[in-house]
């Protein structure tokens, strides 16, 4: 009997392994690099500050590979959830932007980044429920 693995399961498993490996590299490097950025000057400061983007870019590539590997329905779910996250973030950004005019402080880019990720996380089960019932 030839056992064939579900391509979606294989894509998920591969992604999990690669994601956690890249995340481990990110966590291991972020604090030493942040510390080094504070003690460096000139162009090196910018290069050092952007170094953690390498594992993040790898995660980005792994995500694309995962989305290409999963079935049509799951791909549609993630695409819609991500689009909703973009819409929610844009709406919240413009709302807060008006409040900035009223002298509220500029938030860190991490704050906006977190809004995209959280709204993506919240939208995914809702979109899944719409398609899977």
């Amino acid at each position: 009997v030839i056992k064939t693995a579900n391509p979606t399961t294989v894509a998920h498993r591969k992604y999990q392994i690669r994601f956690w490996a890249a995340m481990a590299v990110y966590v291991a490097t972020i604090w030493p690099i942040t510390d080094a950025v504070g003690r460096t000057g000139g162009a090196w400061k910018i290069v050092l500050a952007l170094t953690p983007l390498v594992p993040i870019a790898a995660i980005f590539i792994f995500s694309i590979q995962r989305i290409r590997g999963i079935d049509e329905l799951e791909r549609q779910i993630h695409t819609e959830a991500l689009a909703i996250a973009a819409g929610v973030t844009a709406l919240l950004s413009v709302t807060y932007g008006f409040l900035e005019i009223a002298k509220l402080p500029h938030p860190s880019a991490w704050f906006t980044y977190a809004i995209v990720m959280v709204s993506w996380g919240i939208a995914t089960p809702f979109v899944t429920r719409k398609y899977k019932g």
Binding site: T34, F60, A83, A86, I101, H106
Partner: protein
């Protein structure tokens, strides 16, 4: 009709042609197009009022309220318009939205990592503008991919 109205309509018509090519104008699309002008004028009025009024004055706060209310009303009209789209159009919208989110995530991460190196914190208006621009650029490209 003045030059600004003409230019706005031309841009909107061009963009609509790019995003809804070969699709007959649906009633929802025509209703949206008519209201688009009203919303554009309200936004313009809000920005002018905002620029002309003194900071923290009643007019200044009223202009902010007007801008937020116009954005909310635009959404209230825009959502039924999008829901009236056919499957292909909605799919293109979702894909281009996902592309916009990916672009935004990458730029946000870059900006966040550069903040300790001295990059000033950007206004969230910039992130809105980046999301909107990425979405508007990606939408005709995604539609073209499906139509070709």
């Amino acid at each position: 009709m003045n030059w600004l109205d003409t230019a706005t309509l031309r841009i909107f018509s061009w963009y609509s042609d790019q995003t809804s090519r070969n699709v007959a104008p649906a009633p929802a699309y025509l209703a949206y197009r008519q209201r688009f002008r009203a919303f554009a004028l309200l936004f313009a009025a809000g920005f002018i009022l905002h620029a002309a009024s003194a900071p923290r004055s009643v007019l200044h706060l009223a202009s902010i309220a007007l801008l937020i209310a116009t954005a909310a009303a635009w959404l209230a009209i825009g959502i039924p318009y999008v829901l009236a789209w056919d499957e292909l159009q909605r799919r293109a919208l979702a894909e281009s939205g996902a592309i916009a989110a990916a672009v935004m995530l990458f730029l946000l991460m870059s900006a966040a990592l550069l903040e300790p190196a001295g990059l000033p914190r950007l206004s969230t208006m910039w992130w809105f503008a980046i999301a909107a621009a990425a979405w508007y650029v990606a939408l005709p490209l995604v539609r073209r991919q499906y139509e070709s």
